[in-house]
């Protein structure tokens, strides 16, 4: 299992969701993707997108105005 990172800082929704969607297409099932965001809208949008597309948000953490998601495909 490998870890991948996606930088979505300073992007506003839905761009972080679109980037996450596209990045997940390129990784293998079971791998994880770390997504770093600054838009508070992602706190709702990324977990919702993951739920409807059957991906798992393993963790989400807010650190210094940044939100870091770890998503398992």
């Amino acid at each position: 299992m490998s870890k991948n990172t996606l930088d979505c800082r300073n992007l506003l929704c839905p761009m972080p969701v679109i980037r996450t969607q596209n990045a997940l297409k390129d990784i293998a099932d079971g791998d994880t993707l770390e997504v770093i965001c600054t838009d508070p809208g992602t706190l709702s949008d990324i977990p919702t997108w993951c739920r409807i597309n059957q991906h798992q948000v393993i963790s989400s953490e807010e650190i210094d105005n940044e939100i870091v998601f770890v998503i398992k495909k």
Binding site: C13, P14, I52
Partner: protein, 361 residues
């Protein structure tokens, strides 16, 4: 599309038909997808991001909105329906629609008819739709709902010019239109579709109630900023000041933020109105010259256009007028160039009555 219309799959079982629904996040597209889903069709959603989507960038900017529920309504709709949603960034391709609409604009800079043709075409052309055996497209259009794009005479134009032809089904008003392929082939039962027309929303509300949908989005003016008069005015001002009709994604983001004040044709100020906008504009300091007040609390201001030292001084006086030092004799400001160099200067804040009304874009 080139999919066959045979009624059985390779195992001679009834073929599972698939439809792609254009999901805006509003009530009509939710209902249209639900109506077809109820008939046993496999539905997946597509949502297009044009850069002008109300769903997108605004909800995160202003701090005063922080207590409001933040959700993307297209995602919410998909979750209500239990369908997958594919969000496609078309902001670059969409420029040509905004700048050169073949069918013209609506009341503001909204190219609704060209937009709908483009989106249906995008759905049609989308490679995987064909690869994955999608049979037809669903939209939530209703005859007479919108003055420009949703008229009975424009519906065939959308179907024809998008290339979708009669694989474009509008479940909410299908009974007012000629039967489409999905109806003629019996993939969907025409009798269970609807005959909505006109601007009244009552039939949609009743159908929403029947399906048990509550808390759905009702954005005034639809889901696009281009239908908003104030927003269109700012976009027209941008084109006028530049002497050409063009924009970048950052331009159209910034039109939604702050006070836009154009004291001279060659430049304008974008003055943040509160902390959330301050934080947002800070992300643009490497692209724009910025001004912030040092001696007093105040907004972050970006300068857009071409300007000389006198212009910067004028801008600093205006920025100071919106700071905590607006009644002080002098306010110290820091001017920071996009390349990182900076200097400070003292300016008298411009009196409120000298900030001319016509400067406000």
């Amino acid at each position: 599309m080139t999919q066959d219309i045979s009624s059985q799959d390779a195992n001679n079982s009834p073929k599972q038909r698939k439809a792609v629904a254009l999901i805006s996040g509003g009530l009509d597209s939710l209902l249209a997808a639900k109506v077809v889903q109820e008939q046993g069709i496999h539905v997946e959603g597509i949502n297009f991001y044009t850069g002008f989507c109300v769903e997108g960038h605004t909800h995160a900017i202003r701090k005063k909105d922080k207590d409001k529920q933040k959700r993307n309504n297209s995602l919410w709709v998909a979750e209500q329906l239990g369908i997958k949603l594919h969000i496609i960034d078309i902001s670059e391709e969409y420029k040509d629609i905004v700048l050169n609409p073949k069918h013209g604009y609506g009341a503001n800079l909204n190219p609704c008819l060209d937009c709908k043709i483009f989106m249906v075409n995008q759905a049609q052309a989308w490679a995987w739709a064909e690869e994955n055996g999608f049979d037809f497209i669903i939209t939530g259009e209703v005859i007479g709902q919108r003055p420009k794009s949703q008229r009975k005479e424009t519906m065939p134009i959308i179907a024809r010019e998008s290339g979708a032809d009669d694989r474009l089904l509008r479940p909410l008003c299908a009974k007012n239109l000629m039967p489409t392929l999905p109806e003629r082939e019996g993939w969907v039962n025409r009798e269970e579709l609807y005959d909505f027309s006109g601007r009244s929303r009552k039939p949609q509300f009743e159908l929403a109630k029947k399906f048990g949908f509550e808390d759905f989005a009702q954005p005034a003016g639809g889901c696009c900023f281009l239908t908003d008069a104030n927003y269109s005015k700012k976009l027209a001002d941008l084109w006028d000041a530049r002497g050409e009709r063009r924009y970048e994604l950052d331009d159209i983001m910034l039109l939604k933020v702050g006070r836009h004040i154009r004291p001279k044709k060659n430049f304008k100020l974008i003055v943040s109105r509160e902390e959330g906008e301050n934080n947002f504009l800070r992300g643009y300091k490497k692209q724009f010259t910025s001004i912030h007040t040092v001696s007093h609390g105040g907004p972050l201001t970006l300068l857009d256009g071409e300007f000389d030292k006198d212009d910067i001084r004028l801008a600093a006086q205006i920025a100071a007028r919106y700071s905590g030092g607006k009644n002080a004799e002098q306010v110290t400001v820091q001017v920071e160039n996009y390349n990182g160099t900076s200097y400070v200067m003292d300016v008298p804040p411009m009196p409120a009555d000298e900030v001319k009304q016509e400067w406000h874009v």
